[in-house]
Symmetry: C2
Subunit: 358 residues, 2 copies
């Protein structure tokens, strides 16, 4: 003890300090990090009256009490995007949107998130604070509460700044059943907006590229748009957000899971001019670039127009359009009529042109 | 396409292959990893009749249907232990036990886990398979289902083999309220068994130390023991597993959260001879070493004997004993009567003598 008050610990310097191994050791420094960084930020996402007791988990009210016959949905995502900050977002916002969107694609209303951080020794505390505030903001906007968490620290050179895993639970209304296995020949394939922005925004930030028109990530929580869609009587069968692997890979997953073919119309797929130009310059295909705020919807063709109208009435679906049709030809394969009137097959993403995009 | 069947991909070599960046890209290689490694192993943990649809999340039946008035509990843990394999366990078993135990310490019956992997490029697939099988085994033993997951891959030198984050949900019976804030002066402090094995097992593996008697991690899922304890009428107030920071730090957390003092009896705290000898040799205190299969219980003193009896009737509580008493002296501080009859203060863990212990 040698003259120092037992338990004395220097206050955290959130402006100039660095993460060190003690912040993950479970002792006083871990406690300090929770009390001065995580708790104040995440408390803003909690439901009124809810308190974190500092225990090993969070006790939640029955999420199904308000929805008898509903089902619980659970999802998780790890986030390792590099760089941590990019135009239009950062790893914190992404970690919230990613799990919220996974729940939304199941038709669930997202409710609660858990978060676990893996921090690299030497990470500026200011960066951590920025990421945590961005998470809290994204969660507040999405009306989800970040209710429990964990933090580990690894030595310098054993991570890359920080990694974030989020898990989430939500509730799915009774009778609603959405799955990548449910696409049927004749169904319409809808897309909520332009593709490729997130992938290109991260890539350009990483490579230090500058374009005339800045390209921003589209990262956003999609459950509001989904709620709009579910409020229509449209017979919706599949919802999926085309993240890693892009539109092309996600459609292949659905075609494979449903054992159907698909016929797309390339000219109908919206791509921002700046993204198209950057892709051409870099030899990339926007259909394989990650999106973080777009969704694919597959529905009965008779309901496509009504569903599109509902989508366009929401800010995140203004550019919604029909991009193709589910067929019974070549189950598991995607055919696309190109802009030039030809046909090409759209395969899964092979290899990894853009690692650590989310 | 050049003569190769569209979508062709070499089968995974699970014996000699290595993880590469494509396994995290969300394309065909990711799909292959899920289908050939994760799904077959985790399917063994699923409830009968439950199916994974390959969607963005898992749809669960209402976990509270069988327990009206129950509450949902959610918890998460990141696992970065080094080395990945150690006597008595590995990172996979730890990732299951860690989250199961966090739920159990809230009095909840653990039900479902999500898992997110961060893999380092170059990790032997055989190591991944071993870890995944260990997770599946631990989950089966604990009767929890691993229902959804995610995998990312980072470049060589940006992780250390693999990291695992698990999140879990469980249900807590109506009326049960356990929290680190509920200890009261006069309460008895019980411990389920000897301390320090996990920390010493990992450390000895990491440093290549050999002891005459091998020291094995105590890692285990504690919810069975907890169920035994909850079946008694004992007025239980706090359950906590002394992981990172060890017994000393966890007791300090409780003392601080409940604003009470504690008086411990060092001689009553069981420590295996091999652990005590290794600690003495290395200048470590077993009270600060991590445990992964032990719990602290704080209950009304009048119920201590009955609760101890119930604990001792369970294989994971055979060595259960009373180690001290909650007091109203020096709130927030722990006093300990030493083996030699002196008194010393037991502070929080300061610094980090053993990074990446879990």
């Amino acid at each position: 003890m040698s003259g120092i008050k037992p338990g004395y610990i220097r206050p955290l310097d959130l402006r100039h300090g660095l993460v060190d191994l003690t912040h993950g050791a479970g002792g006083r420094a871990s406690h300090q990090l929770i009390e001065s960084v995580f708790k104040p930020a995440f408390a803003s996402t909690w439901p009124e009256g809810w308190q974190a007791a500092g225990d090993d988990g969070a006790v939640l009210t029955n999420p199904l009490a308000a929805m008898p016959g509903g089902r619980l949905v659970m999802s998780t995502d790890a986030h390792v995007v590099s760089p941590l900050f990019f135009p239009g977002g950062d790893i914190g916002a992404l970690a919230v949107h990613g799990t919220v969107n996974d729940l939304a694609m199941m038709g669930a209303q997202p409710l609660h998130l858990s978060v676990s951080f893996i921090l690299e020794e030497g990470l500026p505390l200011a960066d951590l604070v920025r990421v945590v505030h961005s998470m809290a903001q994204a969660a507040m906007n999405a009306h989800v509460a970040i209710v429990t968490g964990d933090t580990k620290v690894v030595e310098r050179g054993k991570a890359d700044g920080l990694y974030i895993s989020t898990a989430g639970i939500g509730i799915c209304p009774p009778g609603l059943h959405l799955s990548g296995q449910l696409a049927r020949p004749g169904d319409a394939i809808l897309l909520s907006g332009s593709v490729g922005e997130h992938g290109m925004a991260v890539l350009s930030q990483r490579e230090g590229l500058r374009f005339e028109a800045p390209i921003e990530s589209d990262c956003a929580s999609l459950h509001g748009l989904v709620a709009h869609m579910l409020a229509t009587p449209a017979r919706l069968r599949v919802l999926r957000d085309p993240t890693r692997g892009g539109l092309a890979t996600t459609l292949n997953e659905i075609a494979s899971a449903s054992q159907v073919g698909m016929q797309l119309d390339e000219a109908a797929i919206p791509v921002q001019d700046a993204v198209a130009a950057a892709c051409e310059f870099m030899g990339l295909d926007p259909l394989y670039l990650a999106n973080e705020g777009k969704l694919i919807a597959i529905c009965d063709a008779a309901d496509a127009d009504a569903l599109l109208q509902a989508m366009r009435a929401h800010p995140l679906g203004r550019q919604a359009c029909r991009i193709g049709t589910v067929t019974d030809e070549s189950p598991g394969f995607i055919q696309m009529r190109t802009r030039f009137g030809g046909q090409r097959m759209l395969d899964w993403l092979m290899g990894d042109p853009l690692p650590r995009i989310c």
